[in-house]
Amino acid sequence: MNTHTRQDDQAPEEIERLDADPVNAAWKRKPLYEARKKIFPKRASGRYRQFKWLVMIITLGIYYITPWLRWDRGPFAPDQAVLVDFPNRRFYFFFIEIWPQEFIFVAGLLVMAGFGLFLVTSAVGRAWCGYTCPQTVWVDLFLVVERAIEGDRNARMKLESAPWTGSKFAKRVSKHAIWLLIGVATGGAWIFYFADAPSLLGDFLTGRAPAVAYITVGILTATTYVFGGLMREQVCTYMCPWPRIQAAMLDESSLVVTYNDWRGEPRGKHAKKAAADGLALGDCVDCNACVAVCPMGIDIRDGQQLECITCALCIDACDGVMDKLGRDRGLIAYATLADYQQNMAIATGNGTHAIDPARVRDADGHYHDKVKHFDWRVIFRPRTMLYLLIWSVVGFALLIALLSRDRLELNVLHDRNPQYVLQSNGDIQNGFTVKLLNMIPEPRVIFLSIEGLPGATMTAPGINQPPSRSLAIEVEPDRLREIKLHVTQPKEYISGAVTKFRLVADDKASNEHDAYVANFNAPERK
């Protein structure tokens, strides 16, 4: 108990101040969760930006236009060029029609996509992320809208901190409204891949489309709006696994967006003043243009980072600045780690000194001979060639499989119980379930015949033909027909418990055929 009564504000001098902090002192507390730092990417212009516009037009064009392309397949099949027909379990891609059991083709395409990604990444880094990933393309599209309504970087930052006025409100509402419309169009285009596009559009607008269509459009509208408009770089940094896999895919010969600090450092704005002080500055004038245009909000000068999607907009920004200053382009450039390290070794005297621009350039501004520059031949190396080889082999195998695949198939299943049936005259009958697959959109007459098994004849319920060694069976276009087949062999021909014979399906019009080696069972001879 402290009974001391305080009489004076001043602590007596003899009391020592202890070096103690509370564990939860306010200055010590760190936030458990980090608030997002908003990014306002500035519009870039340059050759990579041009290329990205082109890629954006092509990819969005493919996505939106494809379902509306027509492809005539005759009266018995849909005329949509690309169609995933779930109710009938068919997939149409221009001249190719795939049945569910041919899903191996889709698996093969996925293998090709995987190796294609390996190939591209090992050669030119995360080009997929930077140019063609839907997340990147749609964020670009959303940024176009944002810039058109709210202006470029500075205007947007100003608007962000401005008080809520009518004008700000109007801008925000129209921006989000257009984003949502893009979202609806994105989700809307998706459903057209799964049904006849023109009739589905009519049904969709008049409220007669199936509920799943509206639900799908709703979900995709939400994801497009949230990912493309609101979350943007957060998706790439926190949700996508690819940035974490890239380390395994890149090597020292992969082209990645690189800040060449061997010619940029030491950075500084006032070259003349520095020169007067006897200090040589590098090419980087520390204008931060590369940071301002970055859609991920990072500084490429910090080196290769998980966040960097290699969209190359910082290259455009920096090249523009270098052009104005009359210096060489490529302070930020696609470069390999091997080249970069060699140049760094030159600039730092093998790491013994700080970066000195004079080591890589002579007084006239020409690079020394040993300085390495971009060489396109770096793309052709064993690793990328191996990926290309695997990719081509899989592609070639798929192509051969596609060109040589059967459009007429015969599946035969012998009855398990009873395995054979004794007839009153001593003949033996075997039952089979036969499936005939007519995989073209034309009706066909398939001749099913017995090869081998002397004396045997067959009948099928529903096929009104007398017992014979060959039955003509009509199969509807693009359909499977299942029939029950009764094969009977007279007793005088029966040779053993199991006799092998062939069931052959023939299309006499197209000369296609398929065969199955079946067993004919009879009782054991006693």
Binding site: Y33, E34, Q234, D415, N417, V421, Q423, S424, Q429, K484
Partner: protein, 287 residues
């Protein structure tokens, strides 16, 4: 206090976890992650309120939507039944002899008959309709009461010797053990066995033929070919309902067994019986 390790490059404290020399930075999570976490909690509460969720001592909470997977199945079954209703009705309206001419009805009747067969018929006739001793094989072309679609339909509808249906098939073979001498029974058995080439005592065949002509031809026919009118089996073919050896035939002549089949028409309804008849007729022996 444990030693704190601060990463040199980022200046961020590490968690102290090390894997093969790789340390984990103790960075704060993004805040939207926290919001997502809260959203999942809200979702979970909504789910618990709306759907069956919490197990109780017996049973579980039902949820406001009253959803259950059993209910789903019941709904799907009734939808399937409704979808079948049209075809079932059509089968009920169509005379049995005309069903097979309609490919759609034929396919439906075979599938429906197959399902009904598995529930009602396999106990005696076997899962493949292959039959057992005393229960005929329905795959073959030997029919006691006729193998046309009409006759099969009649047999299934009214049954055989069941004493419940006045129109049931009925016949009864006398017990010849009371009427013939044991020697005569052996003779007639040897004769009947010889008709289908079954090994038998040749010395008895000729006298057996005499016994057969005197006692059996009235039902089984002059050539022992049987008579479907009385369900009298063909004794000259390769198929035997009971034991087809000489001794088996003798036993059946002495004290015959008679199969019984229930009348299915009143139990399953006409549409199902029609489907069963079409199915049985399609098995391979139908005439």
């Amino acid at each position: 206090m444990s030693d704190k390790h601060v990463d040199e490059v980022s200046g961020v404290e590490t968690t102290g976890h090390v894997w093969d020399g790789i340390r984990e930075l103790n960075n704060p999570l993004p805040r939207w992650w926290l919001w997502t976490f809260y959203a999942t909690i809200v979702w979970a509460i909504g789910y618990v309120v709306l759907y069956p969720a919490i197990p109780l001592v017996s049973g579980n909470t039902k949820g406001m939507l009253g959803y259950s997977s059993r209910g789903d199945v019941a709904q799907e079954l009734s939808a399937a039944k409704a979808a079948q209703g049209v075809l079932v009705e059509q089968i009920a309206q169509t005379p049995i002899s005309e069903i097979e001419a309609n490919p759609e009805l034929l396919q439906f009747a075979i599938a429906g008959g197959s399902a009904a067969f598995k529930v009602n018929c396999v106990q005696c006739h076997g899962s493949g309709a292959q039959g057992f001793e005393g229960y005929p094989n329905l795959n073959d072309d030997d029919w006691l009461w006729g193998g046309s679609i009409d006759e099969i339909y009649t047999t299934i509808t009214h049954g055989i010797r069941n004493g419940q249906d006045d129109d049931a098939r009925f016949s009864e073979m006398p017990a010849f053990g009371d009427m013939l001498e044991p020697g005569q029974i052996r003779e007639v058995a040897a004769y009947v066995a010889s008709l289908s080439g079954t090994p038998s005592d040749e010395a008895l065949v000729e006298p057996g033929k005499v016994v057969f002509e005197e006692n059996c031809v009235a039902c089984h026919g002059d050539n022992a070919q049987g008579d479907k009118e009385f369900g009298a089996p063909n004794l000259a073919d390769a198929i035997w309902l009971y034991n087809g050896t000489e001794a088996g035939i003798a036993s059946q002549a002495r004290n015959p067994k008679h199969g019984v089949m229930p009348a299915w028409g009143s139990r399953l309804g006409d549409a199902t019986v029609k489907q069963l008849a079409v199915f049985v007729h399609s098995l391979g022996g139908g005439q």
